[in-house]
């Protein structure tokens, strides 16, 4: 099992990709840089790929390092968003 400095994106096809989060868009499409495939290298064709674009619709999970997330701030922001949505 290998862990990345940034995120691990688990896809619906069970492929897990380690990488640095570069950017995200409104569809939650993800761009990762310096990628590596975690778990067994069952996918040899990814060797020459360093950066990738992942379509939001195929993402199952995005694993973030716990210490990099300010959960309190996140909770407050989510609460504010929910209030705005209600109005």
């Amino acid at each position: 099992m290998c862990f990345c400095s940034d995120v691990v994106v688990e896809l619906k096809n069970d492929l897990s990709i380690c990488g640095t989060l570069h950017s995200v868009d409104q569809y939650l499409n993800i761009k990762l840089t310096d990628i590596s495939v975690t778990d067994p290298e069952k996918y040899p064709h990814m060797l020459s790929v360093k950066n990738c674009f992942i379509r939001g619709s195929v993402v199952r999970y995005v694993q973030l390092p716990a210490d990099e997330v300010d959960t309190q701030l996140l909770q407050d922001a989510a609460r504010k968003e929910a209030m705005q949505q209600k109005q």
């Binding site: 990709i17 950017s23 995200v24 499409n29 993800i30 761009k31 020459s48 990738c52 674009f53 992942i54």
Partner: protein, 116 residues
């Protein structure tokens, strides 16, 4: 995919060689020529790569239009030749930056390595 800076966009990937993984498990490699907001892609000089263990075979496919919903992942392929060239250049640069000058003198009877 819009033009707001900082958001994920495929605009900079156009005309570059890419590998696309499709939902049915296929791998296509080609030059990305066109994109849209659904991640529909137009590939040029496409090749379908089939892997068997460590070996692979390429089937030339021409021009491909991939419907966005079938796209799993799109990755830029960095040409291996460029990498090799960069590596050699790096080695030479490192040698240049060092103050150690190495002379190798060859004699019929012995080989001497002199460092200044």
């Amino acid at each position: 995919m819009n033009y707001v800076p900082g958001t994920a966009s495929l605009i900079d990937d156009i005309d570059k060689k890419h590998l696309v993984l499709l939902r049915d498990g296929r791998t296509l490699i080609g030059y990305l020529r066109s994109i849209d907001q659904f991640a529909n892609l137009v590939f040029h000089q496409t090749v379908e790569r089939i892997h068997v263990g460590k070996k692979f075979g390429d089937i030339p496919r021409g021009i491909f239009i991939v419907r966005g919903e079938n796209v799993v992942l799109l990755g830029e392929i960095v040409s291996r030749h460029n990498l090799v060239f960069t590596l050699v250049f790096e080695m030479v640069r490192r040698m240049q930056s060092k103050d150690i000058v190495t002379y190798i003198s060859l004699c019929p009877s012995h080989t001497a390595l002199i460092q200044l």
